[in-house]
Symmetry: D2
């Protein structure tokens, strides 16, 4: 490592680095705020290291990296400064493409959790990195956070190590379509409320901030995650919204009392097991409102609500919301697409989609986007 | 064949024969009106023949049969009386289960087309046939008629031989779920209009007759296909409606002039390629009305609109219709379920689903129905 | 059918017809002696019929046909003259490629069993048919006769309807490699003896006659099946020998008494369950001798012993025979290739390979032959 | 980590730890000499760490671990002492099963390369670990070292990071069969000579030492890898020998000059491309001799030569060696089994088997061993 020169992120020309994931104003060190957030470079030389700094409390971040498009490693990062060797002793003159990324979702209840990329150490040169002309944004819950994509079927703990961007339909779809992509997801959250009836856990309420999920100090202050996100800086060709699974679950969960409001929340079922219409309409309205918000920030993106990997119980409520939005706005550039359900054969850990389920979803969604966006290769 | 005794359909006790498919009042000879319509028996003896009578003009019917659940033969039937050997020289004492069925859909424009089962010839005995406690009804278009399920990818003629019940998600789903089933389908038709803007080609307009599709003489008169169907005679546990594919196509087809009405029909696209709202609402209304009709006749059935094997462009229009129905009726026992799309790898003949696509649909739909109906084996 | 003209096989120029399968001197009517034996033509016109004559006793022949490479029908043929419609009402100007073939193996114990093609009836013209520049010969037992490729897993009768050329690794491999092919196979037979220790049931003893399997009158006399086969008339690029499965089974079967010889035969096991060396050497010798015979008749063909679809117990005995042959002859153009075994998931009827097993074998064997023969497309 | 107690390997009762892989006399710290060598424990508690020491020069070792049978991480280990957190913050009372193992093969040309396990840190208790009653030994080359099981198809560097035990048919087969297992493999080596005609690179010459592959100081002295291996300490039920691929390659490689012997080695081809018989017999003899050696040390094991994942060119030479051994020894407890070849669809990095190929081999080999060893679950 002694013979390697250090290059900070800020000193790498933009044509020699691809950055994945939403960003605020901080660029040095570069914060990786979401799962899938990462850096991609092409370098010559025999050895390459990356310098990062991480912090965390209960939920430690995991990272992964790939070489020339192939998965090479994923590992747990405990708090501290780390120099990680990404490759060594390779043929020096051949350009190597490396992608390093965060596995763990933005953690809404882990104030200290962060991954910062400071720079690289290498004995070669940075080359121009192929640029992505296509852009996809994925908005979701635990499914899009890759929860259970690692782990045994019987594992039930709720831990960082089970989540990923590496075994994840969002990452796979973006790779398959050769697209840059953003992930904005949070396990347990919904479009109207969380799995446990917590109405604060809705994605729209945090979507307009850089990373509204990381709301606690010191990260929020330091990295500016609670500042408004500059949507103009990155306009997706398509937005994939995979929300609703937790809203559906809330109907079968006990009421939730929120002390700050001295109020109890509960999505109710009718006696015949169907959804209480009043409560269902809250979801319908939330879908409509979220589409309005998304359209405001991304005027040209195709917006597809892609739902169904853990059941499709909300198909009608979601489409009612979409149709209401469509009807009022006249906007035709929205659609609904059902993803294949997860079955006993395709579960990962704690009843979440495993690799095979993410592969199934990738196949269907990729085909859908290819046709819809006229991406013919 | 000389040593075999002849048994007419009417002389077989009902516990010794399963009849698949909708029926009118005629039982002898037994008309097989739809694809999938057929008979199933369990017999001992070494040899078994079936006596049938068929007629047709341009589109000849095809039939198929299976032995102990395994496909054995499919063949073209030209007009005439036929005695078909279903097996011979088998071990006499072992009971054999045989299902004989029509491959070709009800033909809406082929007056003479018919398949009548007169009876069996055998040297053994009829045994009790296992009865199906579950019932499924499938309503659809060319997809449910198995169009293109046989034939080369490059074949484009519109012919009877390319259609089937044997390679068909409806049949496969029913078998997988051990269910009796009805198919009511017609290639080219829709819920509001046909693929070519022909508004007469909508399934609801013929659904309430025994086989409203076979509207020409002599078959209609002889077999009573145009009489009202007695829905009480067979109440399904679930109705799968796979309609919309042709309605969607009509937007991209030229106007259709109907001389009898001196009127031209055309589903219109907006300049941006989206659906003209006025025309889209015709589909929305047709969906709503058809659901009302279905519910009237099948008060307890779960109704699932299962759509998407040839694109999902109408997802929003269909769900708008379902939601309107749901909202007005308060009926919660309806749902929308998207079937996996057909891709280059899964096409059969003339751009219709092939075997692999029907298998994919079967897998998803079977899982859906199993969960929804609580059919746990 | 009235408007069609009749064309006899003998009147079709050779460039307008492909004939599959071994032939003797008879060409009109054309005998289809083996499973896979058949005719292939390309015709214009709207309608096509084939005229055949069949005879049989216990084991009736089955036939199948495909249109433009896609399976269309298979059916049982009872004794008599038959005109079978292969297609009707098709777009007349488009050339249609049709292959009609025998499903049932040559029947060694069914004297009358035969399928004769007399000619075609059509309203179009014969076109030049694409010729195959590659030739494959398959020699085998029940596996290559497609036994159990149709039928339910539980079926155990030994009947013609369970055998096929349509669901058969030999046919699939030839199609995948775009090759003309011959099948020479017989269920229950081996390279040294049959499954039941019957030493008369060895393929080498009949291989040099046109169809030594059909040894009874009247077919033998009429069709010349017992005359020496003219190997020069058709020289394969590769010979695939799939024999040994029945030789292996014989060790576990009771002794067989042959009255004509007043002698009892039995392949013996040692006490530890291994093969008696003396008996094993009979197989070793039979392999060596058969290779010598094959090489004599096909000096340039690559000969691959491809074995293992129902267990690989004879791997060492077979390779010992091959190595002995190789060592003595100096011939290096022989090889051994193991085919994937059939498992519970891939069985067809009566514990024989089903469709999935034949597909697995096809995949491996196709890849092997492609590399070995340098067939790079 | 402060609250955890340290437990050395030597202090863990044998019923509370499973050790995978060959061992010499050193137990503390526990050397992991081969890929797949590792430790498995079941513990309660919230946190678990492992303490290891590694060293290396050019080829750094990689390690991987799994939790409750599911892959969790793999990472590069650079020289030094490492404490690796295997899990944290888990539900304390639930027993967790953890397997930690070496990814990198024994490195024959990397003197310093080693992985030593010193012990664990935990806040729970060791539980009894389920014991394996079945034992499998795998002997092989780069295939069994998992070379190319990681990495992009286009990667061609020969580096440690591309090898694994985690994506490896040996590991998968052992897991599928619930068996303890040993791997003894070396990339580039053969049964008679290496891929480059280096006759020193034959597995039999090093097989009888603990880890004859790690022949350089300081590791050899320190860990006793060059001492005779105590075969009585671990008797396998079956030995899978996957050798021959490099012997076959040597025929197509240039001659190799060995300075120490002042001699040049070359496996020769005949003009027609077949193997020079004299050279082929060297392989035949090496196979025979190696079987004799294996039998000497493992009197009761079933020995199967399982070969073919990168072509089957040596099928006849290998079986000739096996048959010679069988003939001379009378030993019938040996067999030959061909593994499925790797194709364009299943390659990993630098033309070696990828995940899909290892899965295919696992499926076939598992079925073979299950039947052969009568392991019926």
């Amino acid at each position: 490592m002694e013979n390697l020169r250090v290059v900070e992120i800020k000193d790498i020309p933009s044509k020699e680095i691809n950055i994945f994931g939403r960003l605020g104003k901080v660029r040095q060190p570069l914060p990786l705020l979401f799962n899938g957030s990462g850096v991609e470079i092409v370098v010559t030389g025999s050895d390459l290291w990356i310098d990062i700094e991480t912090d965390s409390d209960f939920h430690e971040p995991w990272i992964a990296y790939e070489l020339n498009g192939a998965f090479m490693s994923r590992q747990m990062m405990l708090p501290g400064e780390h120099s990680i060797c990404l490759f060594r002793n390779m043929e020096p003159s051949t350009p190597k493409r490396v992608r390093f990324y965060r596995e763990l979702q933005a953690m809404s209840e882990a104030n200290r959790c962060k991954v910062l990329v400071k720079g690289f150490r290498l004995d070669g040169e940075f080359c121009e990195v192929p640029k992505y002309t296509r852009k996809l944004e994925f908005i979701g819950d635990s499914i899009t956070s890759g929860e259970g994509s690692y782990g045994a079927v019987t594992d039930v703990d709720w831990l960082a190590m089970y989540m990923s961007a590496s075994v994840n339909y969002a990452t796979m779809t973006a790779k398959e379509l050769k697209a840059d992509y953003h992930i904005f997801s949070q396990g347990g959250w919904g479009v109207y409320c969380g799995w446990d009836n917590d109405v604060r856990h809705n994605i729209p309420s945090v979507y307009e901030k850089v990373c509204g999920l990381a709301f606690g100090d010191p990260v929020a202050t330091e990295l500016g995650t609670l500042e408004p996100y500059d949507f103009d800086s990155w306009q997706p060709d398509a937005i994939v919204v995979n929300l609703g699974t937790n809203d559906a679950t809330s109907f079968n969960q006990p009421p939730l009392y929120i002390p700050e409001e001295d109020k109890t929340y509960k999505m109710r079922l009718n006696e015949d097991g169907s959804y209480n219409r009043e409560d269902e309409l809250k979801i319908v309205g939330a879908v409509e409102n979220f589409l309005t918000m998304l359209r405001k920030h991304s005027p040209k993106a195709h917006i597809v609500w892609a739902y169904g990997m853990l059941g499709s119980d909300l198909n009608l409520a979601i489409t009612e919301g979409i149709n209401n939005y469509r009807s009022k706005s006249g906007d035709q550039n929205v659609s609904f697409f059902q993803l294949p359900n997860t079955t006993m054969e395709t579960y990962g850990a704690h009843m979440h989609p495993g690799l095979k389920s993410h592969e199934n979803a990738t196949k269907e969604l990729t085909h859908y986007l290819r046709v819809k966006l006229n991406w013919n290769d």
